[in-house]
Structure formats: C-alpha cells, structure tokens
C-alpha cells in the first residue's frame, strides 16, 4: 500500500478517524463536531472510531478531582448546592449501591407504567404524547447519609403513587413509615402509609393531590401505630424534592 497523497481531500471515514485521533486544529474540529450533530451517517463514522479507540481511554489511571469541581459544576448549571439531593454520595460503594438501585427500580417503574398504559394497538401518527400516556415524574427519597430510601412515581391523572422502597428492616420500635408532602413554605400534609420492604401503589387523598408539584418535598417519617395523621411526630428518615 502506497502512502496516501496528503494533498487529496480525505474521505468522510478518514475525517472521522482524524477527529477522534485528535490531530485536527480547532477550526476543523468545530466544523466536524457541528457535522456530527447534523449528519447521522457521519456521526456513525465518528462513533465507529470512538468505539475502536475507547479501550485506550479506560487504561488511564483515575484521579480524584478536588471537591470544588462539583461546586463549580452546580454553579455553572445555576443550581444551589443546598438543594436536597446534594448532600453528597461519598465513595464508590455508595455510588454503585445507588446506581444498582436506580437500575432495578427503573425496571419496576417501567413495568408498572407499561401495565397502567398499554400501548395503543394502532400507532398514532404525529402524536408524541397520546391520551393515556401521561408522563410520570420519579422522585428519589434519600436518607441523611446520602443512601437511597424510596422512589416515588407520581401519576398525576390518577391521583396514585407507585412507592418502591430500598428494603430495610422494620423499625425496632414498631413504628410505621408515613409519607408526607411538604409544599414550599407550608406545613406537611399526610399522603399515605408506605412499606419499607414492598413496592405498592397508594391512593393520594384528593385534597393533597394539588400539593404534589415540582418544588414540593416528599418526606417519610416513622410514626407510632394509630398516630393521628395531621402532622408528623416521629423522626424524618428520608426526603427528596419533586
């Protein structure tokens, strides 16, 4: 094979290879990166080379970035770090536990959504969100130590919640977990009694449904059996914002 003539314009596959190898200057890079977003065939070529060279990247030793990097990412995205969920999942064990839980719970939620909303037998042309396919928010509730506790999927049109716990042992004092919603600046409202080891669909009291909106906080407290449901009296064991 003779060496390619460097004055010949390269093929798309060669351009993709050069982009991934990293030998192009910034002007060529930004031109080709724009093409990746617009041209599916070219994007496939780039994906091919990325996949081929990816093993080299996994050889690079990980280096823990300084804590300020996360703070700055939050700032760039316009987030306040004090928001719930930013207590920090320290260490890889917490990460993998969380990731595995997300993975498993998402599967459960997917099955539930599919059962609730069987797909229409005829495809509906042009309809992105056909009737009966209401979008459903998933809220994660976290323990104070940053480990996940419950996932709650809200079905706004039905006034029901799917509540999936990360299984824990029952409370040693026999108290039962109770789910509350705390609208911004308001007192907690009782939503339902929930399980600490079984997923279940619970009905939301009609007067509370309007409170299940973005920005409200879902919290679980441990309450003695037979306690009144006006306000939580026991400890809050998990919370998360919708």
């Amino acid at each position: 094979m003779s060496d390619p003539d460097p004055t010949e314009p390269p093929s798309d596959d060669m351009l993709a290879a050069e982009l991934v190898l990293g030998v192009l200057d910034s002007e060529q890079r930004s031109h080709l990166q724009a093409r990746v977003d617009a041209d599916r065939t070219f994007a496939d070529r780039v994906a091919y080379w990325e996949r081929r060279f990816a093993p080299w990247l996994s050889d690079i030793e990980p280096v823990e970035p300084p804590a300020r990097t996360w703070t700055r990412i939050c700032q760039r995205l316009g987030w306040k770090e004090s928001e719930p969920g930013f207590s920090g999942l320290r260490g890889s064990l917490a990460f993998w536990r969380t990731a595995a839980v997300f993975s498993a719970v998402i599967a459960v939620v997917a099955i539930w959504v599919a059962l609730q909303h069987p797909p229409p037998s005829q495809p509906i042309a042009g309809a992105q969100n056909p009737p009966g396919m209401a979008r459903q928010a998933v809220t994660a509730l976290w323990h104070d130590d940053g480990s996940p506790a419950w996932l709650v999927s809200i079905a706004p049109s039905h006034g029901t919640l799917l509540v999936v716990p990360v299984p824990t042992r029952p409370d040693s004092q026999g108290r039962a977990p109770q789910l509350w919603v705390i609208p911004p600046g308001k007192a907690p409202q009782w939503v339902a009694s929930v399980s600490s080891d079984m997923s279940e669909t619970v009905t939301v009291p009609s007067q509370v449904r309007a409170s299940l909106v973005a920005g409200a906080v879902l919290a679980v407290s441990l309450e003695p059996a037979g306690a009144a449901s006006e306000a939580p009296t026991g400890p809050i064991v998990a919370k998360g914002s919708i």
Binding site: P4, D25, S26, P55, L57, V63, S92, I106, A110
Partner: protein, 192 residues
C-alpha cells in the same frame, strides 16, 4: 404542574451507568450527582492526560459534566457503552480546551520524543481481555513500530498534525500521509 422533563417513558436498560444516564436525560439531579461520584475520577484522569496543567484539567472536567447534563438525552446505547461515551466527551472537551491554550502550555518535545522512542509501550492493563481491546492492539501491532508510536502519541497528547510535524522536524505532508496510511491500515484490520 409536574415537571414535564421528568418521565419514566424512556427508561434505561442495561448497566447501572446507562440507567443513571437515562435518568440524567430526564433531569434527575440525584442521578446526575451519583454519575459524577462514580465517573469523575476516571474522566478527570483523561482530562489530565491531555492537559498537563491541573487547573485547565479541572475546567475541562466542568465542561464535561455540564455537557453531560445537557446532552444525556443524545446518548445512544446502540452506538457506544456509557463508559466509552463519557470518556470520549472528556477527551473531546480536554482537546477543545488544549486547542484554545497558548502553545507554551502544550507538552514538551522531549516527552513526545521519549514516547516515540518506546514503540513497545503497551497498555498497563494487559490482563483485560475485552475483545475490542485485543482487536485494537492486534491491529496496531501490524503497523510499523514508529507509526504505531505516532498514532499513540497523537491520541494521548492530542497533538495537531502541525504540532507533530514541528516536534518531529518532519514535513507536514509526510506526517499527514503516515498517519492517514496508518488509519487506513487500522480500518482494514478492525473491520466494520
């Protein structure tokens, strides 16, 4: 109104990382933080490999995760694994930043020369038997040692053709045609 960006319609399948990415695509910040905790070390390592200057690598890592937050919906598990997709974003952001730096911050000729003198350099994780790795190394082994080293240096240093030509004191045209020929050979060996 419930957040319309959050839906369980397009749930992720497969690995935990892919499931997390699909949650990030839906605007789930807890999933995003979990993703950061789990992958920022690897991605920072990649940024540092391209950008020797630590503060630049930190800025690049911020570019990476803001891009991941915004582009998570574009992740396509049929094209790449989540790990490879994230790693390539890190490398791209690091190279974009490298290109915007004054030339003096680029690595020295000496380091590049040393790298080129070590054509037998092999990846540190020999034991890893992933088929894509085996195939990549097998195909690289078919290149002339010096060209194999050039491809590795180009990839890991993020050098442009012009920089490689200057450092190796070779004509730009020769560098281009060596690399292009190597890429053609790799393409042939790696297959579709």
């Amino acid at each position: 109104m419930l957040d319309a960006g959050t839906t369980s319609r397009s749930v992720g399948q497969g690995t935990p990382l892919e499931a997390l990415l699909s949650q990030v695509a839906l605007g789930n910040r807890e999933a995003f933080e979990a993703l950061y905790r789990g992958t920022s070390g690897q991605l920072f390592g990649i940024c540092l490999r391209v950008l020797a200057e630590r503060s630049e690598a930190e800025d690049a890592l911020q570019d990476v995760f803001t891009a991941v937050w915004r582009k998570a919906a574009q992740f396509d598990a049929t094209r790449a694994s989540a790990t490879a997709w994230l790693a390539m974003i890190a490398r791209n952001k690091a190279i974009d930043r490298l290109r915007s730096l004054p030339a003096r911050k680029v690595r020295t000729d000496l380091e590049l020369a040393q790298e080129l003198e070590d054509p037998g350099a092999s990846p540190p994780q020999q034991a890893q038997t992933a088929s894509e790795r085996v195939q990549l190394e097998r195909c690289l082994d078919q290149l002339e040692p010096r060209r194999r080293a050039l491809i590795r240096a180009a990839f890991f240093e993020g050098c442009t053709y012009e920089e490689l030509a200057t450092r190796l004191e070779s004509p730009l045209g020769s560098i281009k045609s060596w690399i292009r020929r190597s890429l053609l050979q790799l393409r042939e060996c790696l297959g579709p």
